[in-house]
């Protein structure tokens, strides 16, 4: 029923997402501790985003993709407007939770990232819009980022962090879905790459977490598929004349 190698390949979407959250948290910790400056993050994320779009376009051209929904002018206009809005709002966001204890913020962040992980759109290959439950996931991630951003101490850091959050949780999953459509191997490579980046970033923060993340990724990739195949023996299917029939239509005329 399930083929082990195929299921292993398909776990890439899950490990990618777990790793991306880990990378995001690592970025925050660096920013919080002051080892990463706001403008560096801003430059870094902007360049990555532009590179991502260029890569997408080249790939689309190369694959002769039939639909190209991205209208460049509108895109740039939207980006500029959004950046300005965010820049204007960042002083407010910085002081948003000044009266709240940091412990509350950490706890809520963990909850929202769990929600993000639970509702993330793993199955559909939707590239153009975000629908329920993916929308819940995105909202949870943005909420968590706003909470985290309010713990930072400079306006530029807040702006850079939130811009990064939008790119990381809004755009990056779409490009990962695109990658999965292109090839399973590319998707797997991305998963490995992200897991390594997350592990390396956490090496400097906490070795235990880095090792935990690596072992968790390995477990999800190799252990869980085995588990899934093993529990099939407990599946009890009952079929009978009461099941709804599937109509078989051949479309000879079309």
């Amino acid at each position: 029923m399930y083929d082990y190698p195929i299921v292993v390949m398909q776990t890439a979407v899950v490990t990618q997402h777990i790793s991306s959250i880990m990378v995001f948290i690592a970025v925050f910790i660096n920013l919080y501790q002051g080892s990463l400056a706001g403008h560096v993050l801003l430059w870094f994320s902007s360049i990555l985003t532009v590179l991502g779009f260029v890569f997408w376009d080249i790939l689309s051209l190369y694959l002769h993709a039939p639909e190209r929904r991205i209208v460049r002018f509108n895109l740039i206009k939207g980006c500029v407007l959004f950046a300005l809005l965010l820049f204007g709002l960042s002083p407010i966001l910085r002081t948003l939770t000044e009266d709240t204890s940091s412990d509350t913020i950490w706890a809520m962040t963990v909850i929202f990232f769990c929600v993000n992980l639970a509702f993330h759109d793993y199955s559909t290959g939707n590239l153009t819009n975000i629908r329920f439950p993916g929308s819940v996931s995105l909202n949870a991630a943005i909420l968590a980022s706003v909470l985290l951003a309010s713990q930072l101490d400079s306006n530029l850091s807040v702006f850079a962090f939130l811009a990064f959050a939008l790119e990381w949780f809004g755009l990056f999953p779409i490009s990962r879905r695109y990658l999965r459509r292109v090839s399973a191997a590319a998707s797997m490579t991305m998963a490995v790459l992200l897991a390594l980046v997350a592990a390396v970033m956490f090496m400097y923060i906490s070795r235990v977490v880095a090792l935990l993340h690596l072992s968790c990724t390995l477990f999800v990739t190799f252990g869980c598929p085995l588990w899934l195949i093993w529990v099939q023996r407990y599946k009890n299917e009952i079929h009978g004349p009461w099941d709804e029939a599937r109509p078989i239509v051949h479309h000879y005329y079309n």
């Binding site: 009461w242 029939a245 078989i248 051949h250």
Partner: protein, 448 residues
């Protein structure tokens, strides 16, 4: 003979239309004619709320309730207990008979009736799979209700098998009582047929579950193969657009007639125009439409799904797998049969009608239902702990939850009995059926 007081409960009743509704109405009418007292409890439909009397003195309680989805009311567990208790005591109900697994009222009424120590019967009108989430949920709910009913009734043997598996019941505890039709309303009319054409009639809601995709695929192929065939398709639904597209694409406007939705009173007028009735359902507990068609003298072509093979004798139906080629072959063979020997005695419409009339009658259904009632009417009431034992066996978590629900319901029953003692609740005045019939008889005499 012993007269029983029966309360039928379901979310689905007139003015909404369908198989459950007509079953409730006709069965109640025939039970009343057999000397029993019947009241029906359903939820309010728009302005239709309160107590109403229908023809024959059938009393219906329309209880105000919030409706959540396709006419099913909001599950409230205990909130309906006071009003159900009042009704059961007022009407001196002995047996509570719930209909249809999707009906919240049915489940709640059975639970409350059990808390009050009344006898309960449940009728299942539909089939459900085991694979999807909604199926699993409804099956668990059904298990709860059926753990403590005295008897269950299904409309076909397929449905019985399904229910026994879903609710883990003893098969002896489940009876099969099919639906019926009023055969007098479905008499054949030879003059309505158009001799130039062989007419295929389709009457169903145009939705996926009725196999409209198969119909859309089969119609142009049949029209291409047989020049004398035309289609009359009645019913409405989201798939109607597919049929219209097909008609446009193959330019069959003069051979495929789409009637839109057909009122219950016009069904016969549509049926008698046809020679063949085509049913392409994908699932069906008991297909009443093909019985009506056969009663009007039509040959039936149907997909072999659910309880359909049990419904009619072999010479009236041609079965097909739910697959395009099979449907086309079966329909083609039937068209040739009609074309070659239209006057075959065995296939004469009147002959069909007589046979169906012998097979299906609501009086027969009522008699069989009555037998179930009489069997359980004097059953010994098990102690409360036995009820809990049954609920407890329903599942690791669910069992405990069910026990909790039943216990709370029982306690609410005790509180209600203290607040409104049953002696203080005024019994409803009995409807004088004899006088009603005499008056109606007079009216009829005057009319003549």
């Amino acid at each position: 003979m012993r007269s029983l007081s029966i309360c039928m409960v379901s979310d689905f009743f007139y003015p909404s239309m369908g198989g459950v509704e007509s079953h409730l109405y006709n069965n109640s009418q025939c039970l009343m004619q057999r000397g029993h007292k019947v009241v029906i409890v359903t939820h309010a439909y728009g302005q239709r709320r309160g107590v109403r009397y229908l023809a024959g003195g059938l009393k219906v309680y329309y209880i105000p309730a919030q409706i959540v989805y396709s006419n099913a009311s909001l599950p409230t567990f205990f909130c309906t207990f006071p009003i159900f208790r009042q009704i059961f005591i007022r009407e001196q109900v002995e047996i509570v008979h719930g209909h249809q697994a999707f009906s919240t009222f049915c489940h709640e009424a059975i639970l409350h009736a059990r808390s009050m120590g009344l006898k309960t019967v449940f009728t299942d009108h539909s089939l459900l799979g085991f694979g999807d989430a909604s199926g699993i949920f409804i099956n668990k709910l059904l298990k709860f209700t059926l753990s403590d009913v005295h008897h269950a009734i299904c409309v076909s043997h397929t449905s019985k098998e399904n229910t026994v598996l879903r609710a883990a019941l003893e098969p002896q505890q489940v009876s099969v009582i099919p639906n019926a039709i009023i055969a007098e309303q479905f008499e054949p009319d030879g003059s309505a047929r158009d001799p130039r054409w062989i007419t295929v009639v389709v009457l169903s809601r145009l939705v996926y579950r009725k196999g409209v995709d198969l119909l859309v695929a089969a119609v142009p192929r049949i029209c291409a193969q047989h020049a004398r065939v035309r289609f009359v398709i009645g019913g409405d639904g989201p798939k109607r657009i597919d049929l219209e597209q097909m008609r446009e694409q193959h330019q069959l406007q003069d051979r495929v007639e789409l009637l839109g939705s057909v009122a219950a009173s016009d069904v016969r007028h549509v049926l008698v125009r046809g020679d063949i009735f085509l049913n392409t359902s994908l699932t069906e507990a008991f297909c009443i439409a093909i019985v009506e068609a056969a009663s009007c003298g039509l040959l039936v072509v149907s997909t072999r799904v659910g309880g359909i093979p049990e419904v009619l004798p072999r010479h009236m139906v041609t079965f097909a797998a739910p697959e395009e080629d099979a449907v086309v072959e079966a329909l083609s063979a039937t068209v040739e049969l009609v074309g070659s020997c239209a006057s075959h005695a065995e296939l004469a419409p009147e002959h069909f009608h007589r046979q169906v009339k012998r097979m299906y009658s609501w009086h027969d259904v009522a008699e069989r239902t009555e037998r179930v009632y009489l069997k359980i009417a004097d059953a010994r009431e098990p102690p409360l702990i036995e009820r809990f034992r049954r609920y407890y066996g329903c599942g690791l978590v669910a069992g405990k939850l069910f026990c909790l629900v039943a216990a709370v319901d029982f306690l609410i029953g005790v509180v209600l009995a203290w607040l409104w003692p049953s002696e203080r609740i005024e019994p409803a005045r009995a409807f004088d059926y004899a006088r009603y019939r005499a008056e109606i008889g007079c009216d009829e005499d005057q009319a003549h």
